[in-house]
Symmetry: C3
Subunit: 129 residues, 3 copies
């Protein structure tokens, strides 16, 4: 059953998976991590959060969308203690990315690890266009 996908690929894993896939009105995004433009992952969780949302914004832009289009987030952190200990700063970085209080459902869980050991947060989003 053929479907028509719109796909955006980027970065070191571009031959493995897409950063965003749009079919109909649904856009699924790959989990985004806190990597800067040089591929460096800062140590600070809040900095990683800010960068992860920048990546999300960049993927959305490729589809003519913005943060307003996100409907659901799953946040994977490697330390809930660190996340909740910095919860105001983490969510302030998020609020800045969204430009206010987002209309987004959210789930946050602590996992053992992400793709690279220095990563502390990965954010997986579903958007609607």
């Amino acid at each position: 059953m053929a479907i028509s996908k719109q796909v955006f690929r980027s970065g070191p894993y571009r031959d493995l998976f897409a950063q965003g896939v749009k079919v109909g009105n649904i856009l699924t995004l790959a989990g985004q991590v806190g990597v800067d433009s040089q591929g460096k992952v800062p140590e600070d969780l809040v900095d990683q959060t800010r960068l992860a949302y920048e990546q999300i914004g960049a993927v959305l832009k490729e589809f003519g969308a913005s943060m307003d289009n996100i409907v659901d987030e799953t946040i994977f952190v490697t330390s809930m203690t660190e996340a909740m200990g910095n919860v105001e700063a983490v969510f302030a970085a998020r609020a800045e990315a969204y430009g206010g209080i987002p209309e987004v459902s959210n789930t946050m869980v602590q996992v053992v690890g992400l793709v690279s050991p220095e990563m502390k947060i990965e954010i997986k989003c579903i958007a609607h266009l």
Copy 2:
């Protein structure tokens, strides 16, 4: 690209995220945990499961929907040993919430932790209205 979202907010995190977001026919729910009406988390996993499904039912109700509308669940537990050791009681609480065998796809994984250390289960659902 403006989209029209219907949003339900509730509880201590109401300024951070929504408990449910509906766009088109899709309703995404925030992960629900086993908190009672006083904000207390019972120690027992089965009690937490029952309460988490009550929360899910309450969110669905805000959108004029019911458990029948759920299509997919991701269950995050903090101990698979405890979950599988009580699998019949856990799934009986779930069957009671659904009023029978649910028509729902399911994924269950063990994470390191949820937002608060006393939480043993978090259930993230996607519904279709």
Copy 3:
């Protein structure tokens, strides 16, 4: 609010949840693990990966769909070290299942454990038909 679901059930958990649920154009799949036709889980991660994708393909087939219909994957592994240490073989097994570079968004995280201790990978997919 009644919705019309198409459901596929199979295997030991058939009375607990569905392997696939289709409503409208969206098909959600239960997380698939590396179990062979005798219910045995091979020790090797790459073998488990191949079998998990076979299961995914089998669920899709029940809905008249194929791997091309998948839009999003969440991969839960129990050892990122093992997954990344075998990343080429793991993704080669995946590429073989898809018949090329998939147009799929992807998130991979390390969890503590899956339903059975011998399971090393579980793959949760969303498809569009």
